[in-house]
Symmetry: C2
Subunit: 445 residues, 2 copies
């Protein structure tokens, strides 16, 4: 275990993850619409030798728009803009399998991987919620299990497309006029329940072969999907016990899929609220929580767990919630919120405060030492391979983490002092995937 290294992703969201971030004096709320704001964040994260920057996404307006900072950029285009001002850091975009075509999505990630020299990652989501479906010709979201079935088939198609050009397909002989060996370019000829795709992709194989595959669902369907396909999992875990249990569960599933325990990294989200003293950190956390607007927070919670809590008295405990089987949204986030509220007997107002920092992810207010201790404890204790770092304020929270927490982690030998590779897979210590067609007979297009 001496050489086991932490993995850290910088989860970038607007001007900070705390839902009141845009109201805090430390932020410029117009940063949400300014590509230079995000370029600065990527440069700070790269200075901190983070494995990647990560962007969430949804295909609908979210929550209470009156009180929420607006979203502006589509993640793949924004990451492309970040690729051109960085040289090493990975670039992970969330994209849904629910409402796009595999051929298109395969092209976007291949193109990002080419542009960035092998730094693309795809956080695969299935898009819960009727509001998303209603932007794509449907009145209601598909059932949870069907969304995951579509995701699995979608991934099968995109994987085939990413492999459809062999690594050595290009000949490029000016003299003979042969650019490509057609025997090394393969049709996919997928015929499934959701898709029929001939292929090949209209692009050569990208530097990483395929983007790094990331998954963030922690439901039973989500874990099964991750164990089969994912190379990193982002997860929300409130307690060490829950985190350890999730970690063991997921790692145990890998062996049953014939995969090594190192082939998938488990990365809980963490909102570090930093201060030079614990009191200063707690003061910042309280400032942020005081800026929470309950009506906005209730709307966000309603969307997060898929149960309408509008109008519920703020100072009463939650009503009894439906069984998880009846939830068609993010099942694991629903369970996390229900368990948190029950375990700590929280009123709705108290619950909103607990969720305001990170939408269910753990919030830790403390000194850089305390945050580093926490990270080390989870890492050494086998509850995490690293963290998805979610600064409450941006850029200040990311700068503080890079300037004060990262040096401690480096001093303890837990985290790289410089990049040792150039691709996102290099940072994660994962090999370039073998091309699925390399084992098959060559076919002529």
């Amino acid at each position: 275990m001496a050489n086991r290294q932490l993995h850290l992703n910088a989860f970038l969201m607007g001007v900070g993850h705390h839902e009141s971030a845009w109201r805090h004096p430390a932020t410029d709320p117009f940063g949400v619409a300014d590509v230079r704001h995000f370029q600065r964040l990527a440069a700070i994260a790269e200075r901190g030798t983070f494995d990647s920057v990560f962007l969430a996404d949804g295909v609908q307006v979210m929550g209470d728009i009156r009180h929420s900072a607006a979203h502006v950029f589509e993640p793949i285009t924004l990451l492309t803009a970040l690729a051109t001002v960085t040289s090493h850091i990975g670039l992970i975009a969330t994209a849904s399998t629910g409402f796009s075509e595999p051929y298109n999505l395969a092209r976007w990630f291949s193109s990002l991987d080419h542009i960035s020299g092998g730094r693309a990652g795809w956080n695969i989501v299935t898009s819960a919620g009727d509001r998303a479906a209603q932007n794509f010709n449907a009145a209601k979201a598909s059932e949870h299990v069907d969304r995951y079935r579509r995701a699995a088939e979608f991934l099968e198609v995109t994987t085939g497309l990413w492999d459809s050009w062999d690594d050595d397909a290009l000949v490029v002989d000016k003299n003979s006029g042969v650019f490509t060996d057609p025997g090394k370019v393969h049709e996919v000829n997928h015929r499934g329940l959701h898709f029929e795709v001939r292929g090949p992709l209209n692009s050569i194989r990208s530097p990483q072969g395929r983007p790094l595959l990331v998954q963030a669902g922690s439901s039973e369907d989500g874990k099964a999907f991750a164990a089969r396909h994912a190379e990193a999992v982002f997860t929300a875990q409130q307690t060490f016990a829950d985190g350890r249990s999730f970690y063991l569960d997921l790692k145990g599933r890998l062996a049953r899929q014939g995969r090594s325990v190192d082939s998938l990294k488990v990365l809980p989200g963490l909102v570090p609220v930093l201060g030079s003293t614990e009191a200063e950190a707690r003061k910042l956390a309280a400032e942020l929580d005081d800026l929470i607007i309950p009506v906005r927070a209730v709307a966000q919670l309603t969307e997060l767990i898929g149960v309408d809590l509008t109008g519920h008295p703020l100072d009463e405990r939650l009503p009894s919630l439906p069984p998880v089987a009846a939830i068609n949204g993010a099942k694991s986030r629903f369970e996390l919120v229900r368990d948190l509220a029950e375990r700590e007997k929280l009123t709705l107002r108290q619950l909103l405060g607990r969720l305001g920092g990170g939408r269910g992810h753990q919030v830790l207010a403390g000194t850089p030492e305390q945050v580093a201790d926490h990270i080390e404890a989870w890492f050494a204790g086998g509850a995490a391979d690293g963290f998805n770092v979610m600064p409450p304020l941006l850029p200040s929270g990311l700068e503080d983490f890079v300037d004060h927490v990262v040096p401690l982690l480096r001093k303890r030998g837990l985290f790289r002092t410089e990049y040792t590779g150039t691709t996102l897979r290099d940072h994660y210590g994962l090999p370039k995937p073998v091309n699925g067609f390399a084992r098959a007979e060559p076919s002529v297009v």
Copy 2:
């Protein structure tokens, strides 16, 4: 007419538009996969104060892959990478209405417009050909007229989405906690033959409001669509007479749509093969034509006109071709090729030579003076508002044009010496579109 100004777009394609470009000693064929190659081209075009760079696209592997330079990048991501290294030049991406969802496409162009500070343009294509359809769950392409019907509805949806946030929807008051005025954000609630889309878009209105709308089909359906919707038309015209006739036809249609003649720019493609003497230019043209590989050229012609010419004897004239009504591909390109072959009584080999430079676009080998004279004659004679410049070799052909032709056009007062605005619409002299919802009653989301 004294102040009428030329518009020039740099049509970037791999290492040059001539189909043998990658075989010529002047090119580095690996440029096709190198984002820095394209960034250099964009910088050269911006030095030449071009209105825009333009990228074509297809959603399938094209032609004879053995002998053709591979395509690598998806246009919107590539243009995003060019946006970050330029400051003024417009960025026009081709994207098909045939195989994507309007909500997704509206987001990509909105995001590119935000990232570039208002420089995005969309070249709207409908994607002919069964090979494209076969990557998207269909055995065959839709009928020509149906593709245009879908395109019109698609554009109606994206326009609604681009307008769904008023220009002044943001409040951003830290004190009250109001970020957005919900009364200035509108659902689209589109219910049509192909799409049902609720909206609003999950992004604020972009700097240009909407991307500049470009269209390149010159069939009857294409011209009708352009007259209603397009702000620029790219077209292939072999002779001044044809170009003048097309120009008058299209401009005449604008009035019938209640649009001014200046609201749409007509831009024929032009392949300038430059030399410091005419003999030198002709020598370069001959070098390139000598590198044409007939089997590859026949495959490309087959794809271009939708008629299979494989196996036809190279030194015989074309077989009799089907009536245009039977063509489900690019109808206008079919007619152009048929007319060219008949008018000049060309054998197949001769026709391939004529098409090798620009796939049906006019090829002009000459000195910078001769090319400038040609451009001025079409412009002054009312056959063009400018040109879509298609250098046969890249970067050398673009550099020669910027260094030797652009100065002549500037000296003649035909072309800008510096940018006078910052958006693509500014360069075209077009206003920011009025938001369609601005005239309607506000609606609450």
